[in-house]
Each structure stands twice: as structure tokens, then as C-alpha cells.
């Protein structure tokens, strides 16, 4: 068992357990902390796959920014642990879980069929230095430059939208004419 194999199983267990934590924790704030753990685990998996830049970005963006916002919003709501964390309806629940199980089976069989003999070779394949990041930057600014600019515009729209939403004095009926 090589180092990578051990790391993979370790990280797989960490991510799956904490992902299940997101699903089953009754208190959303614990769900959030569980999700942080998942994000860090996924980031470590990225590092294992040689995507060092993405591993860093994953932690900075998800754990360092998005989840901070989630936790802060939960503090605003002052959410207590919910007794009924899941939606009502036995029949609906069975139907949902059943359809998800069918989807899982489909994906699994697709993976089984398509990945016969496709292996990731860890030894000596990936370059763990600065070079992949430079190549990524190069590609981003030549081949994908249009998408990059569009995303810049998208982020501007999101910033304006967030400000506008926080301006609204609560809900859609706030400024109705009486």
C-alpha cells in the first residue's frame, strides 16, 4: 500500500463521514462545520491529484469565504436545534430516496462501464511544482479569456444584486402602496 493509496482512503473516509454529517446533523450550524470539514477534505484530494492551485482556492473560497457567510447568517437567525430536521411525508420520503437510489445506481453502472482500465498513474506523472499553475494561468488567459471576462461581469452583477437585496426592507410586500 503506497502513500497515495493510504491518503486516498483516509481522505475518502473523512469527506464521506463529514458529508453525512451535513445531511444528518439536526442543528444547521453543526452541518456547516461538517461541510467545512468536507471542503478541506476535498481540497486535500485536489492536492493528492496534483491540482495544488485548486486545492488552495478551494479552501480560500469555500472554507474561508462562503462558509463564513453561512455561519454568520446562522448566527443572525439564532437557530436552535430542530426537532424535525427533515421534510414531512413518509410516501414522499420513500419516493425521494428511491429516485436518488436509482440515480446512484445509474451513475455507478456508468462509472463501472466507462472506467475499465482507466487508471490514474500517480508515479512520476504529475508535476508538483509551479509549472501546472503557470500552464493553468496561460490557458485561462488565452483559450478561456472570454469566459473569464464574462465571469468578471457576472460577479459585478452579483455584487450589485446582493446590495439591492439587502436594501429591500424585508420581502416583496415591503414597499407596497397603501
Amino acid at each position: 500500500m503506497t502513500a497515495e493509496v493510504f491518503l486516498f482512503w483516509f481522505l475518502a473516509i473523512v469527506t464521506v463521514v463529514s458529508a453525512l454529517g451535513v445531511l444528518f446533523m439536526p442543528n444547521p450550524i453543526y452541518s456547516a462545520f461538517s461541510l467545512i470539514m468536507t471542503m478541506i477534505g476535498v481540497s486535500a484530494l485536489f492536492a493528492l491529484l496534483g491540482a495544488y492551485f485548486l486545492a488552495g482556492v478551494q479552501v480560500i473560497v469555500y472554507a474561508g469565504a462562503v462558509l463564513v457567510l453561512f455561519v454568520m447568517v446562522m448566527m443572525l437567525f439564532d437557530l436552535k436545534s430542530e426537532i424535525k430536521a427533515f421534510t414531512k411525508g413518509t410516501l414522499g420520503g420513500v419516493f425521494k430516496i428511491g429516485s436518488v437510489a436509482v440515480l446512484a445506481g445509474l451513475i455507478l453502472s456508468a462509472i463501472m462501464v466507462t472506467t475499465q482500465g482507466v487508471a490514474i498513474k500517480f508515479q512520476g506523472q504529475a508535476d508538483f511544482g509551479m509549472q501546472p499553475t503557470r500552464l493553468l494561468g496561460n490557458k485561462l488567459f488565452t483559450q478561456y479569456v472570454i469566459i473569464f471576462e464574462i465571469l468578471g461581469a457576472l460577479l459585478l452583477v452579483v455584487a450589485v444584486g446582493a446590495v439591492a437585496l439587502s436594501r429591500s426592507k424585508g420581502g416583496t410586500h415591503a414597499r407596497r402602496i397603501d
Partner: protein, 107 residues
């Protein structure tokens, strides 16, 4: 066969792991009542997709997959920003963050 699949890590392993995370996120979206948990589950699903993209990028030895992941992360962050701004606005109005709130939106 089993021993081999434990000691040899291939693309399939990462894809199956990605699928498990995706399914967990999906169940969270479908089953949880709290809208914040639903949003977090969506983030989890996007993460699962990212993982499979990076695994493919490594397997095919191409960086395009990684760039797509970079874009997905941007979209996910934007989605979280707008989604939470909406949730805060809704909470200020109705003091309620459960999914059943959306029943009020009918007609």
C-alpha cells in the same frame, strides 16, 4: 479483486467518491427542511462535481478540467452570495427559514 481495488487507486475510485458526495448532497436538498442546509447541500453537490472534474483532468492529463472547476467555484460562490442575500431578506420579512415557507408563495 477486492484487495486489488483497495490497493490500486484509479479514476473509478475518485468518481465513486464523487458520486457518494453528490448523492449525499442531493438527499440533503430533497430531505432537509431548513433552507440553509439545502443551500449547503447544493454546495456539497457542486464540490462533488469539482472532484470528478479534477480526477478526469488528472487522468486525461489535461488542464481544461481544472479551469472548469475554477469557473464552477466562482459560480458556486456567486450562487451562495445571492442565495443567502435572498434568505436574509426572506427571514427579515417572515422570520422563517423552513422550506414550508415557500407554500406561501403560491398564488
Amino acid at each position: 479483486m477486492l484487495a486489488e481495488s483497495i490497493s490500486e487507486i484509479g479514476l473509478g475510485h475518485f468518481l465513486v467518491l464523487s458520486m457518494i458526495l453528490f448523492i449525499t448532497g442531493m438527499l440533503g436538498v430533497l430531505l432537509r427542511k431548513n433552507i440553509l442546509t439545502v443551500l449547503m447541500s447544493i454546495e456539497l453537490m457542486l464540490n462533488a462535481i469539482n472532484l470528478s472534474f479534477v480526477a478526469y483532468a488528472r487522468s486525461l492529463n489535461q488542464l481544461d478540467g481544472q479551469i472548469i472547476v475554477f469557473f464552477i467555484m466562482t459560480i458556486a460562490a456567486a450562487e451562495a452570495g445571492v442565495g443567502l442575500a435572498l434568505v436574509v431578506a426572506v427571514f427579515k420579512r417572515f422570520k422563517e427559514v423552513n422550506i414550508r415557507f415557500f407554500e406561501h408563495l403560491k398564488g
